[in-house]
Subunit: 189 residues, 2 copies
């Protein structure tokens, strides 16, 4: 089985598009081949089965959702203002890759129905939460674990709202909202 990494990535990206557009039910090897513009049968050459494809899509989206260190400047001392900048960069990064986040939402729904996907997705999302909690502890950013979790889930909620029913937040400036969330989440309680 001849494979190459660039083609594999192109196939997984095509799967993300199909997932966001047509939901998990639309995600077949055939649909991925069509979306990627490759000959019929290509996807089945790269993935053992549909579960394998879904797992790789989950891990790939997670990478796509992660900030590239170039997107913010961490050379400055950790402070609420710097954390605000990082959170804003993350929000805009995810908003710009709407397809990726919506595909992740479709994966969450599919995971309810498929135990094997549930396990892999849980692993990915648990690792993400843990990385946030430990990242704050090690970085010297203000706050505590409550700050991290409060901010993590508030960002999740705002992103869900913004990507599915954007006008609900139209009367707010999301950048201001994020700044207020960061400052409050690190406050003494």
């Amino acid at each position: 089985m001849v494979q190459n990494t660039a083609r594999r990535t192109a196939l997984v990206d095509a799967a993300v598009e199909v997932l966001a557009r047509d939901g998990a039910r639309g995600l077949t090897f055939r649909a991925v081949d069509v979306e990627a513009g490759v000959p019929k049968g290509t996807a089945s050459n790269y993935f053992a089965n549909r579960a394998d494809l879904l797992d790789q899509v989950g891990a790939h989206i997670h990478r796509r959702m992660t900030l590239d260190p170039g997107q913010y400047d961490l050379d400055r001392p950790p402070s609420p203002d710097l954390l605000t900048e990082v959170m804003r960069a993350l929000f805009h990064h995810i908003s710009d890759d709407r397809t990726g986040w919506l595909a992740l939402l479709e994966l969450r729904l599919e995971a309810i129905r498929r135990p094997e996907l549930q396990e892999a997705l849980t692993e990915t999302l648990r690792a993400n939460l843990t990385a946030n909690i430990e990242g704050r502890r090690e970085s010297g950013f203000p706050g505590d674990d409550t700050s991290t979790m409060l901010l993590y889930y508030a960002m999740t909620g705002v992103i869900l709202e913004h990507l599915t029913v954007p006008d609900v937040l139209a009367r707010f400036d999301v950048d201001d909202l994020i700044a207020a969330f960061v400052h409050r989440s690190v406050a003494e309680s």
Copy 2:
């Protein structure tokens, strides 16, 4: 067209089941008739078209997600502890009606593809957010609008996680987490 309210509600509840189980693509009048155990053609007698059905489902889920005043005691003076109780009651109410919240998630995804549903769902969710903001202002609960929005979206994020990949939060006590979120969200920043 003879209609009755109990049957209408039963049809909308059946549509919620179909939506949560099969996604928006599975939601047809025929599927609703089968789910509700009524003769073929019944649903088409109650709803002008599929968009009408989806709008009614959205409004109905919103009612199902709302706490019945009997589920908590608001006779005591407003305090962070009472707010914690209300938020915990809301979390458990929604967890117990997992189907309703998952159907709402399917509606959010469908709304991305259907402008007419987008408008109705935006209206419903905007009204919900506004009711939370104004409710806190009027009730004398501690905090400010930032408290409400931070808590509102953090609860949304936690519910999304808990209902789709529950084991991510398995090592946390969600009731403790909610108490910490409430106290932090009303802290002075």
